[in-house]
């Protein structure tokens, strides 16, 4: 991914050229700490029992999805004409893509707000975000009844420019397929670079500067697009009008959906980093995590300020505190967001991994609840009807999520996604060289060949 430098010497275990103790950044840009670069999880076997379990769920879900494609929707779903949208749309797309907004939230912080240390966790955000969008789009593809008519997207004169659904149909596939895919390219190419032949290396070396040249323009698009479609997801629910309870139906839905995307994105990346690093025995970096926690707290407060401002402006404060079913639901959702917002103001909470994990989880749950409620729970059609997802519906939803989990676990093992320290990176090459020495006898070619082949 880069123009050449001098080759490096492999450090011995006693020789640590780059201390992993965190040092404060004086210049405002460069930062050295525990997490120094993405490192593949190379010490563990790729296939583990949990992976097989999730892969099995994914296979069940996708098999059902294929059957669904050649079958009418009716036998598969609990949806009906009053609740025409089931969990594939309301949960997998409208709700879960908030968690998949890490690339937007962390990216804005890193590249626009110039929080340099967050560059390290971008890859975790990018891979997870891409998978949330990809599985969400798969869910959409099997949800719509006449998917084959989607070619209309190629005929701009057929677009209904007033439709939030059109905005989403255009923006989400382009975002995932072009911008997120581009942002994920470096980590894939990097693997090719270290494992590939001399010709591959030569090619990548030639192309790296070209990728870097378009990079700023591409990440600008990568932030513009989700700003548009994450707000349009909230915009979708505007047309439902009075069907949605007044605590959730507001002209501010688009902005509030966007703000949930921001704090859920930050919260989920924090969660994923903590779980990933703890699961794979990686050291944590309280500076980076504390930064994320700090931004998460700010994001939650900003959301709550807009949420309450809107409720006061519409004169619904009495509804919010009526302590009936809806009010309690509202208070639960608010509490889930308010607790982390307040708690994470404390440096001690931010820098204690367990409490940070708990707070990030609460914030994510609160955001998910806020997004899910107006689409389903507080949604009352003109005619009495009941919707509860059918078993195939649930299995397909679980299948899509499992597919994302399987892909993420594989990505973490094959690509340099999770942050680690440089020593770990160098150690990986030593291990791989030993493995290669052992396996070339058997005629296999493991990767990577060497860290110094650049």
């Amino acid at each position: 991914m880069n123009t050449g430098n001098k080759s490096i010497k492999l450090p011995s275990s006693s020789d640590r050229p780059h201390a992993t103790t965190s040092t404060r950044d004086e210049s405002g840009s460069t930062f050295v700490n525990h997490w120094q670069r993405g490192v593949p999880v190379y010490r563990e076997p790729v296939v583990t029992p949990p992976l097989i379990f999730f892969a099995a769920l994914a296979v069940v879900g996708l098999t059902l999805a294929l059957v669904r494609f050649v079958s009418p929707l009716g036998p598969f779903v609990g949806m009906n004409d009053a609740y025409a949208w089931g969990i594939w749309k309301t949960f997998n797309v409208l709700t879960l893509t908030a968690l998949g907004s890490g690339p937007l939230a962390v990216g804005l912080a890193a590249w626009v707000l110039n929080r340099q240390k967050l560059h390290l966790v971008m890859r975790t955000a990018l891979v997870s975000g891409f998978l949330f969008y990809a599985t969400g789009l798969v869910a959409l593809g099997f949800d719509v009844g006449r998917a084959w008519n989607f070619w209309n997207i190629l005929l701009p004169w057929r677009w209904n420019a007033h439709s939030a659904m059109l905005e989403i149909s255009f923006c989400m596939p382009v975002y995932a397929g072009v911008f997120l895919a581009f942002e994920n390219l470096p980590l894939v190419l990097e693997r090719f670079y270290y494992t590939g032949s001399a010709a591959t290396k030569e090619l990548l070396r030639k192309w790296a500067p070209r990728l870097r040249r378009v990079y700023p323009a591409m990440i600008t698009g990568a932030y513009l697009f989700p700003l548009m479609h994450q707000s349009s997801l909230g915009g979708l629910m505007l047309l439902a009008g009075d069907k949605i309870h007044p605590l959730w139906q507001t002209p501010f839905l688009p902005l509030l959906y966007l703000l949930t995307a921001v704090f859920c994105g930050l919260g989920f990346v924090t969660l994923l980093l903590l779980i990933g690093c703890l699961r794979h025995s990686r050291p944590l970096d309280v500076d980076v995590l504390g930064e994320l926690g700090n931004l998460l707290s700010g994001g939650c407060f900003f959301f709550l300020a807009v949420r309450f401002g809107d409720i006061v402006w519409r004169g619904q404060l009495h509804t919010a505190f009526a302590l009936d079913k809806w009010s309690l639901l509202f208070l639960l959702e608010t509490a889930l967001i308010l607790v982390p917002a307040v708690a994470l103001r404390s440096k001690v909470v931010r820098e204690t991994p367990r409490s940070l994990l708990n707070m990030a989880t609460l914030a994510c749950l609160g955001g998910l609840l806020y997004r899910f409620i107006p689409t389903s729970i507080a949604f009352a059609p003109a005619h009495k009807a009941v919707y509860f997802p059918s078993l195939p519906e649930l299995f397909m939803t679980i299948g899509y999520i499992s597919l994302g989990i399987v892909a993420f676990v594989l990505a973490v093992k094959y690509f340099a996604v999770l942050p680690g320290d440089i020593e770990d990176w160098n150690h990986m090459f030593r291990v791989m060289r030993l493995r290669r020495a052992a396996s070339t006898a058997k005629g296999e070619t493991p990767w990577p060949a060497s860290p110094s082949t650049r």
């Binding site: 670069r37 008519n149 209309n152 040249r213 990079y215 323009a217 047309l239 439902a240």
Partner: protein, 314 residues
Amino acid sequence: MSVGEGITRRQALLGILGFGGTVAGTLVAPAAAEEHPAHPEAPPDAVSMLYDNTICTGCKACMVACNEANGLPPDTTLSGGLWHMPTGLNSKTKNIIECYKEPDGGGFAYVKKQCMHCLDPACVTGCPFGALKKNEWGAVTWESSRCIGCRYCEVACPFDVPKFEWDHWNPKIVKCEFCFDQRLKENQQPACTGVCPTGAVIFGKRVDLLAKAKERIAASSDKYFEKRVYGEHEAGGTQVLYLSSVAFDKIGLPKLGSTSLGHYATKVTSVIYKWLSGPIVVAGILGAIIRRNWNRHEAERPEREKQTGLLEQL
């Protein structure tokens, strides 16, 4: 990165403008006039139906005529395979007569349900590729080749009118289309109004029928609920008008505000997205900041790489 930053910045800007221009071309034309006024006015040639449940005898001739005109199969689930007996509007029923009974067993009232043909229909506003369309004379029609089956129309419609063929592999959206293709185009009135023996539902221009409805209200003392026409203002106004002897919400006509849902849903976005100005401004600001930070990042990269001895990761 030997290319001067001025050029790349210009390239980026041109790229954004080029993309913006392409999309703007399609977005701007319809956005020029206010497409979704809060209280839309009916065009003078808008057709209409007036249903008066003080006249309806509940004979259901309109239901049979509707199925015949639309080539719909009878819904025989309830009648044991014998006759058309739907429980509500569904994918085999575009028009239905329902009966409301007072809980105390006192009075009862009929109501005819079908698409309301709103002046600014929420389904049309939401439909991504314009499968649902406000056609000539204001009839809301559906075109199969543009429909992706997203069912946003069902979520959006305040009257729960559009129905989806859940048990078809190639599902259609089924709703009353004012007999647009079969009859309106042939200069005939819709099947239901044509067949109604008592004149409970009549066909005409909206402006005429609205006047007629108001005459009926004026002529009778207390016959009509709230002495008003349902559909004159509901959800911005509909082309199907109702007179009722009992409360509208009792016969399943929901209480709605007088603002069109299309106006409510697009009043902010239509400003932000006008000429794609919002996205272009945001892209410009983000792009400038990102470019500055990127250049700084790139300038420091060799130093960092020298320090660690490793290629920097993006």
